[in-house]
Amino acid sequence: MQKIAKFFMVSLIIVALASLPALTQAQSGGKILIMARAADTTGLDPHKQTAFASLRLLELIYEPLVTLDQDLNIVPMLAESWEFNADSTQLTMKLREGVVFHDGSTFDSADVKATFTRLLDEATGSAARSNYTSITSIDTPDAYTVVFNLNTPDVPILAAMASVNASIVSEEAVAANEFEQKAIGTGPFVLDQWIPEEKTTLRRNDNWWIEGPYPDGVEMRVIPNEATIVAALRAGEIDFALLNDPLAAVLLKDDPNIVLNRVPALAYHVFQLNASRAPMDKLEVRQAISCAIDRQEVLDTASLGEGTVTGPLTIPAYQVPTSEFFCYTRDVAKARELMAAAGMADGFTFKTIVANAEPPTALAEAQVIQAQLAEIGITLEIEALELSVYVDRWLKGDFDTAVALNGGRPDPYTMYARYWTKAGNLQGVANWIDDLTDSLMAQGRAESDPAKRLAIFTEFQKHIVEQAPWIWLYNGYEYTAHQPYVEGFIPNPTDSLMSFAAIRLNR
């Protein structure tokens, strides 16, 4: 019995010791930027990763030829300058000199060629390959010049190169093919260690070709619960956070001790109709659905108004005032008329697939749409699915309707060619196409004059909104939050963390 008593005493001391105050400790480790996010990297191969969470890490390690600034202009990175030939079938790039990879090897045109050869090799399994299939051959006239020969006029390929998926890797790395184990890029930070679902540590690249990076390193932590991330920011335990859930982010809006950045996102919330299934094969039914939905209310409820009602293109340079779109102001009477015209005055029942918590607002959007459609006699049944199951069904086009948050791109063509061209890889998901749409996309691809491109894509948007294969809803914000002493971070509409290198920690 005495033993038990002793055991209790010892345990009591341990517990008491642990709950002593002094829980807050001064952040140590010099100028290490400590950030947290809910999702973790899923893999290290820059050419194969598509998850946003992976891209946020890889863009600190690797660099592409060109990149996007905060206004989505294409700006030089590893390529200093570039030029298309007259008919946009040849792209010549001048490469930056004096850049070295993390392993000390020098960057030159052979690395660019090796990179794109790997991307285009089907055995690699890169989902981004489809963006570069117009490349027929790559010439390297000298160590710092590279020429891409294209089989068709392809202006958007430049924007497509401004992607983590087109990160330049070294010729030696391609030969070794150990991308899942080793991350050797030219970027501002060097990967020290990745412990899946826990944390990733990066250290400063002392040989970076730009001035900096200023932080000595970055520690990326995974905190699966966004409410806990907010708590960690408030408690001063982390310097920086990536937030996904607008409901969690708005908690910080009025917090004087935290800086919350909101940048309109390129990604768009959309209610996808499957026009290959009855009754959505009828134009009137699709239009009725479009007229019955109050996009602003969906936004106000699901995201607490955090965002803007949008048409198909979220790229600022290509946006069209929503008043010019078909039925962007809710019109229930017109919706009823259209239903009657389609012979569906009594309504019908269909389903929608929603991924659980991906995005966090999806289930709420579905519920608001459900309530709104009920007013014109349409019964919408919600099927909430685990993300992988959702993706599986989505890719097969196995749904009546789908609530989705689709990623945006800086160029209208790369953003939508996959869905709205006859040859698009995801035409089977979009399930609707007409000749006008297809030809507008082709014209937009070949056109290099910005004003003419704008006209083409404006027509494209108005046409597709009126045809209503999808109901575009709104685009939200990309949220980042940090302590006031974090200076120099430039929020980016693609959610990129590339400006981490420019951050100064004045704590």
């Binding site: 409410a227 106000d300 966090p360 608001v368 459900q370 199951v389």
Partner: protein, 297 residues
């Protein structure tokens, strides 16, 4: 998991003796029993009202302009993100939560008892085989099992019921088998067998009636865990599906917004605690009343 608490509660139960006062009277004069019965009755009435649609507002109706209204005269317990009435949703939630818990326990209880009694009564290699299969489910991590079942069947109320039922069936089976083994060896059973009573008759007349009391206790306690499990599953988005409400769904919906609208977490939280408490109290009361060894303490 409370499995063992139950198992030992069962193990300590013996054939019930004679009854002095009517069962209900004894239950209601027992403090736990009376409290539990009151809470459970309130809960069931609310649930039935909620299920029948007798709520202040339609539980799924969205009053967009009134979203996130704090409790006031119109919305007694406030409104949620969609402007839906929290009180009405709690009532509907009571119905859904109770339905999932009750059906899951009914399935697990019936199936488990059947399996356990069969195994225990017949014995031999069939017993070994059945209990081995039950061992597999026992050893399988419970939440992973539920997750896998729901992943295979798809999310929803019915999947949640099946998942909870599958997890609890082996518990009931193991718990029912024990008393059968000991009852089978009782002298009066042997006596009955000697005078030529057929096996099914022995089972029906001598064994099952004597197991009834502990089974009732177990059902009541199992309901309380099933309620908690339903809440956990719905919290993970795996149970009741929107726009339908269950207490777990309401709590899950409240997590990121509770700071702005604390009533969204407080009321469903309080109701879950109260509901589970009620079933636990009722179970305690039933045990006090039904278990002769514990009587007159």
């Amino acid at each position: 998991m409370p499995a063992l608490t139950l198992a030992s509660a069962m193990a300590s139960a013996e054939p019930s003796g004679r009854r002095a006062k009517p069962f209900l009277v004894r239950l209601l004069t027992n403090l736990s029993g009376a409290l539990g019965a009151t809470v459970v009755t309130l809960f069931v009435v609310t649930a039935v009202l909620g299920g029948a649609g007798a709520t202040p507002f339609p539980p799924a109706q969205q009053f967009g302009r009134d979203r996130l209204t704090a409790p006031n005269e119109r919305y007694v317990l406030g409104t949620d993100l969609f402007g839906r009435d929290v009180a009405s949703r709690l009532m509907q939630g009571a119905w859904n939560s109770l339905r999932v818990a009750a059906l899951a326990v009914a399935i697990a209880g019936t199936l488990g008892t059947l399996i356990g009694v069969t195994a225990g009564f017949i014995g031999g290699s069939l017993d070994t085989l059945i209990m081995r299969v039950m061992d597999v489910f026992f050893a399988f991590p419970a939440l992973l099992l539920a997750l896998l079942i729901i992943a295979v069947l798809g999310r929803g109320l019915n999947s949640a019921i099946i998942a909870i039922a599958v997890v609890y069936t082996p518990i009931f089976a193991r718990v029912a088998r024990g008393p059968v083994l000991s009852l089978k060896a009782m002298e009066y059973v042997t006596a009955a067998r000697c005078i030529g009573t057929r096996e099914p008759m022995i089972l029906a007349r001598h064994i099952l009636p004597n197991m009834l009391a502990p089974l009732i206790v177990q059902f009541s306690l199992a309901l309380s865990w099933a309620l908690l499990t339903e809440a956990s599953l719905s919290f993970l988005g795996l149970g009741t599906q929107p726009p339908d409400a269950s207490w777990g769904v309401m709590l899950a919906e409240s997590t990121s917004i509770a700071e702005r609208a604390p009533w969204l977490m407080i009321y469903p939280g309080a109701v879950i605690v109260l509901g589970v408490l009620g079933f636990n109290l009722l179970g305690d009361g039933l045990r006090d009343v039904l278990d002769p060894r514990l009587r007159k303490r």
